[in-house]
Subunit: 187 residues, 4 copies
Amino acid sequence: MPTFRPRIESSVLIVIDEQPGVMKAIHESERVHRRSLFLARLATLLHVPILASEQVPDKLGHTDPTLWGLLSFPAIAKTTFGCCESADFIKAFRDCKRSEAILIGIESHICVSQTALGLLDLNVRVAVCPDAISARTMEMHKIGMERMRDAGVAPIHSEAVAYEWIGTSEHSRFREAVQLVKEFSAS
Amino acid sequence: MPTFRPRIESSVLIVIDEQPGVMKAIHESERVHRRSLFLARLATLLHVPILASEQVPDKLGHTDPTLWGLLSFPAIAKTTFGCCESADFIKAFRDCKRSEAILIGIESHICVSQTALGLLDLNVRVAVCPDAISARTMEMHKIGMERMRDAGVAPIHSEAVAYEWIGTSEHSRFREAVQLVKEFSAS
Amino acid sequence: MPTFRPRIESSVLIVIDEQPGVMKAIHESERVHRRSLFLARLATLLHVPILASEQVPDKLGHTDPTLWGLLSFPAIAKTTFGCCESADFIKAFRDCKRSEAILIGIESHICVSQTALGLLDLNVRVAVCPDAISARTMEMHKIGMERMRDAGVAPIHSEAVAYEWIGTSEHSRFREAVQLVKEFSAS
Amino acid sequence: MPTFRPRIESSVLIVIDEQPGVMKAIHESERVHRRSLFLARLATLLHVPILASEQVPDKLGHTDPTLWGLLSFPAIAKTTFGCCESADFIKAFRDCKRSEAILIGIESHICVSQTALGLLDLNVRVAVCPDAISARTMEMHKIGMERMRDAGVAPIHSEAVAYEWIGTSEHSRFREAVQLVKEFSAS
C-alpha cells in the first residue's frame, strides 16, 4: 500500500467541535483556531470539502463564525463524542465521496481520537494536524496524539498538508497559498 | 481488525498494587491515586468490573481504602510481579468474561508492564492510562510506557476511557460522569 | 527482511534544497549546514554518490557553495516540493543504481517528508538524519520527523550513517573519517 | 508470537565497549557504569551469561575492571563497530545457546545500534536498557534509541529486566536482588 500523502481530490477537511464555548477551556485555543482557519481557508481556495461537527450546539453554541463561514455543508450536530457514531455525519462524509480525512479541532484525546479511530474502522485514511488540535491540558493532548499515532493515524502539520495539496510552486493557487502561510504563520 | 475502543460491556478495570506502603515511594503518587479513584468511581457507576492486585499484602498492606471499597471482587494477593503469573488472577479475570483490560496503578515498568504484556499474550486487548500509572522515577515510567506502546498496549488517558465508555451525552449517566470529571480534574 | 543498515555500495546521499536564501529562515540552520557538510565530505571520501535538489533556483538561488562543490551530479532544479515528482530527479536517482537513500536538508515536514515518502513508494529504503535536517520552527521539524518515522523512514544520526558506511576501524579511510567527525563535531 | 519478556534461561547480557578510555567522553558515563554494574551483578547472581565487547583494546584499553571481573567469558576484541560482524563474537554468542540479548554500554547510535540490529537479523530477540547506555551527546543517544525502537528493539529499563528475570518475590535470590536495586539506585 502506498504511503499516505493527502491529495486535493481525495481529501475532506473535518473541523471537530470548534465551538467558542468549548474552546475557551482549551490549552492554547488561540493557536488551534488560527491554524484551523489557515487550513480551512486553504481548503476553500482548493475546493477541498470542509465538514464540521458540533457537540450539542443547542447548549454549547455553534462553530466559531470565522470557520463557520467556510463550511461546505451545514455543521453536523452530534451528541456522541465520536463523529462516526452520528448517522448524519456518516451520510455527509459519504456524500463527499472522498477516501482521506484531515482532522482538526478539539479535544485531542476525546472527540478527535474517537473520530479518527472511527474513520480508520471505515477504511478511511486519516491524518490529524497536531498544530490545529488540542485539549484542556497539554498532557491530554500528548496522550491523545500517542494513541492516535499508534493506531495508524498520520501526524501531519497543517502547513505540510497545504504543501501536499498544492504539490508544486507552479500550481495556479501557489501564490495565494503562500500568502495564507504567511498570514497565519505558525509559531 | 478494528481499532481498540474500550466498551462498557467488554472492559475490566485492573488496579495494580495501589498499596499506600508502596505508593509512598512513587513519583507523583497523589496524582496516580486521584486519577485511579476517578476511573474506579466511573467504572462503578457504569458497572464495569474492577479487579485489583496486591503485592504480598501480608507485608506491604492492602489497597488504599478509598479504592478498596469500589472493588467488584476481593483484591488478589500475588507474589509474582506480573498478574498473569497468578492463577488466582487469571481465574478472576476469566470469570469476568471480558476481552479488554484497562490498567492503572504501579509501577509502570515492572508490575504494570508485566501484566500488560502477559494479557496481550492471552489475546486480551490492553490499554494503560498514563495519567493513572507511575513508577519511583519519571525515567522508569517513561521507559515503561515506551516498552508497552511498542508491544501493542494502547495509551489512553483515563478521561478518554471515560468518554469511550459513555459514548454520548445522551447516556443516562452522562451528568454523573461529567461531575466525576470535574471532581477529580486532571492537571 | 533484514533491518536497514546503510552500505557504501547501496547508498545515495540526497541533499534537499540547502539554498542559502531558504536556509536563512530555518531553525538552527548553521547546525544543519555543518552536519550536511560532514556527511557530504564523508560520502565524497567513500565514493557514495551525492544528489542535490534545488527549489526554483532561478528565484531562490543555488545550493550552498561548500556543498555544491561536492555534488556527484549537477543539482536538480525542481518546482514540486517532493523530489520524486520531478522526472529529472527520478532519472538521476535511477542512474545511480542504488537502493538506499540518506536524506538531509530542509524542510523536515515539507520537501524532506514528501521526498522520503515518495522514495518509500518506489521501494527505496530511506533514512533521514535528524541532526542534518530542520524546518522553520522546531515544532514543524518534530511533527515532520514523527510522520516520517511512522511511515517507515529510519531516523539515523549522520554520525551513525558514517560508522555504518565505514563499518570497521580497519577501513582504509577510517582515520580520515574520524578526522571529519572531529572537525564537524555535533552538539 | 508472544511478547518479549526476558527470562533467565534465555538471556545473555552483552556489555558493549565499556572501556574507561572511551567512557570518559560519554554523556552521563557514571550513570551508565552504575546501571551496567547493577545488571551485571544481578546477571552473575542469577547465572545469566555475560559477554563483553571491546573496541580495539590494544589502543583503547580494556573494559572497566569492576565489570571485567563479572564476565562469563573473556572480553571479545573487535575492530568492527557492530559486534555481529566479529566472528569471535558470533561464536561466543552461539556458544551461549540463548535466544535473547540484553544490551548495555556505548555508544547508543553506533556500536549499540549496529549490534542490536545485527542480532535482530540473526532472529535474536533484543532489548536495550536505555538507563545503561549512552553516547557522547544526549541527542545522539535519543536518535539511536528511536532508530532501535523503530527497528524492533525493546526498550526495557535495567530494573525492569531484573524483575522479569526474578519473576516473583518468592525467588530464592529475591532479597539479594532487592539489595542490588537499592545499592545501585537509579536516578
